[in-house]
């Protein structure tokens, strides 16, 4: 009886088009935001922030980036890691070579650079579809891996190839404690989620989805396939680039090109598939799931008295991820987000089970 829309009438199209239509949903999101902004900072210890929450938030941003491209526009990318890397190294080099640049602007420009490269590698999508595109984006991945490893200019000729981010100074606010970093990431995650949600419920998002569902029909209603696809690549790479900056500057501090290898690309892909293609909420759920599962696998067997080697845990992780991908694709291609929605529908109808 708690989750009901009875008695709540929407009397304008504005109300009907709101992101959270039901009063219960509005209360729900307010509670979640209160917990995220106030509750967690009060309760969480440093390990939780550093090892789970900060990576989770940054990866959520990255997953939103990929989801815009894959889930909304239907263009696969196996190179999200590359666009994260481009964002990270662009921000690093900008900060290094143009020290006068405010950090926020530096982040923004890094995102734009990632977007530009994203458009470049998205160009083949105009001539080719689906599977071929996987190869084109893999090309981006391998090329970026190589460039940041072998072209010393990008890493400022450091002998080890590892680079360190500058201090996180936002107009005098120096972000250095885990809690401050958490707040920063939370702010970026909230911002990304809102902007992405706005885009997908606007003209541009609808043109992406039209291209995804049936490109021929999209064209007859006046959508230019080129504009739609390339804008999806641009926005997706911008967001991924931003996630890369956060991952490098906030989470890692110092990093090597390996931090953004193809493993990262696959992780993000799994987050999108498991969380739900075509869902902003799903990006968060997927990121949470993929972040927490390995930690759970590491600790759970020990709790019940089973000792597993690290190698074994990593193999188990592979198997579970692989099996989950297949299971979700077969049973629920819209992922955890859809399961959550079904749960809510059930609540609305409760106690009548039909």
């Amino acid at each position: 009886m708690i989750y009901r829309e009875t008695g709540q009438f929407r009397t304008s199209y504005a109300e009907d088009q709101a992101i959270f239509r039901l009063r219960q949903d509005k209360i729900g999101i307010a509670v979640i935001l209160a917990i995220a902004w106030v509750g967690i900072p009060l309760l969480a210890d440093e390990y939780l922030l550093r090892a789970i929450l900060i990576p989770f938030l940054i990866l959520s941003v990255g997953a939103i980036g990929l989801n815009l491209l894959l889930g909304y526009c239907g263009q696969i990318s196996l190179g999200t890691g590359a666009f994260m890397a481009i964002g990270a190294y662009a921000a690093y080099n900008l900060a290094l070579r143009v020290p006068a640049l405010p950090l926020l602007l530096d982040f923004f420009l890094a995102g734009l650079i990632a977007a530009a490269v994203g458009v470049l590698f998205g160009l083949p999508s105009l001539r080719i579809k689906g599977l071929y595109l996987a190869v084109a984006t893999l090309a981006a991945q391998f090329f970026a891996d190589w460039a940041f490893l072998r072209v010393p200019w990008f890493t400022n000729y450091t002998p080890s190839g590892s680079v360190t981010a500058p201090a996180l100074d936002f107009f005098g606010w120096v972000v250095d404690t885990p809690l401050e970093k958490y707040w920063l990431c939370l702010a970026f995650a909230c911002l990304t989620a809102i902007l992405a949600k706005n885009l997908v419920r606007s003209r541009i998002g609808r043109s992406w989805m039209a291209i995804r569902d049936m490109d021929i029909a999209a064209e007859i209603i006046g959508i230019r396939p080129m504009t739609a696809k390339l804008s999806a690549f641009a926005v997706s790479s911008f967001v991924a680039g931003g996630a890369g900056v956060l991952w490098a500057f906030v989470h890692l501090g110092s990093w090597e090109p390996l931090a953004f290898s193809i493993d990262m690309s696959f992780r993000l892909l799994f987050m999108v598939i498991i969380g739900g293609m075509g869902s902003i909420l799903g990006s968060f759920l997927g990121a949470a799931f993929i972040t927490v599962l390995p930690i759970f696998l590491n600790q759970a067997p020990a709790l019940v008295g089973i000792q597993l080697s690290t190698a074994m845990v990593s193999h188990l992780e592979f198997m579970i991820f692989g099996a989950l991908i297949v299971l979700f694709l077969i049973w629920e291609p819209h992922g955890l987000a859809r399961l959550w929605q079904i749960g809510k529908e059930k609540m609305r109808l409760w106690p009548f089970p039909y």
Binding site: A14, Q17, E219, G222
Partner: protein, 277 residues
């Protein structure tokens, strides 16, 4: 030449409907289309006048769908030209045809399966929206006001086509007849000057056909939209269309009012004769 074509009186076929049928809106001139060695269309010419309902009929494989595909830019003919509102259209893409005011539906429904009825029809308004990227991302200014304005427009369409109850339903879950109606709504949302309908009543039962006929007539009369449609049901064609083009093996067989076409010996021999066994 085209601009000076005199307005002609309403055709006698359906005396209860009096519409102003105007000048030539679209002229198809000597179109020939080949796929490799296969000739889909050979030297076909006809015109579509403003405000009329124009039917294109012919046996299977006569080149009817190919004709529509030529008109809205999916296929580019090897010979001939399309004159749209007095201007010769160069090789255009379908999205350019859309921007020029030509909308169409498909024989096999071409809806966006992952989207709701409302979103499907809203896509038809994309060309009417001007909000910048920033306005859309921040849901401010035109980003917000256009959404509301177009939503109101689409709601009127939903109401007109009697599909308000399914506005939030994903179209993939709708029955066939309703999907056809949503597709019509999406085309209408573009406020086209010329509406191309490829077998709008295929696979429908009698009641659904009657509904669809009524919608087509209403669209034609209330919005003044010119309609060109492909249909196999002869009684429907004869009832609602002002003029009929008959194609056979990619060639123009006859062109005229339903009565003229019905009594044309070539048509009877080649088409109706076959249809009647």
């Amino acid at each position: 030449m085209l601009a000076t074509a005199p307005p002609r009186p309403a055709p006698p076929a359906t005396p209860q409907r009096r519409r102003a049928i105007g000048e030539v809106l679209l002229a198809v001139e000597n179109i020939s289309l080949r796929f490799g060695g296969v000739r889909a269309l050979t030297d076909v010419s006809f015109d579509i006048r403003k405000g009329e309902i124009r039917a294109i009929i012919g046996p299977n494989g006569a080149g009817k769908s190919s004709m529509l595909n030529v008109i809205n830019g999916f296929y580019h003919p090897q010979e001939g030209r399309i004159v749209w509102k007095g201007r010769v259209l160069p090789r255009m893409r379908p999205h350019e045809a859309a921007a020029g005011g030509i909308a169409r539906t498909f024989q096999n429904i071409a809806l966006f399966k992952g989207m709701s009825t409302l979103d499907n029809i809203m896509t038809g308004r994309i060309l009417k929206m001007r909000a910048s990227f920033i306005e859309q991302a921040l849901w401010i200014g035109r980003g917000r006001s256009e959404e509301l304005r177009e939503r109101a427009f689409v709601e009127r369409l939903l109401d007109f086509l009697e599909i308000t109850h399914i506005r939030h339903t994903p179209v993939g879950k709708l029955p066939y007849g309703l999907q056809k109606r949503v597709e019509l709504a999406r085309a209408l949302a573009m406020e086209p000057e010329l509406l191309l309908l490829d077998e709008p009543m295929a696979g429908m039962n009698l009641e659904e056909k009657e509904d669809m006929c009524r919608f087509i007539l209403d669209v034609n009369e209330e919005f003044g939209t010119t309609v060109a449609l492909i249909e196999h049901d002869m009684s429907v064609v004869m009832d609602i269309s002002d003029r009929v083009v008959v194609l056979d093996y990619g060639k123009l067989l006859a062109d005229g009012t339903p009565d003229q076409v019905r009594n044309d010996p070539a048509v009877i021999a080649a088409y109706l004769g076959v249809a009647h066994g």
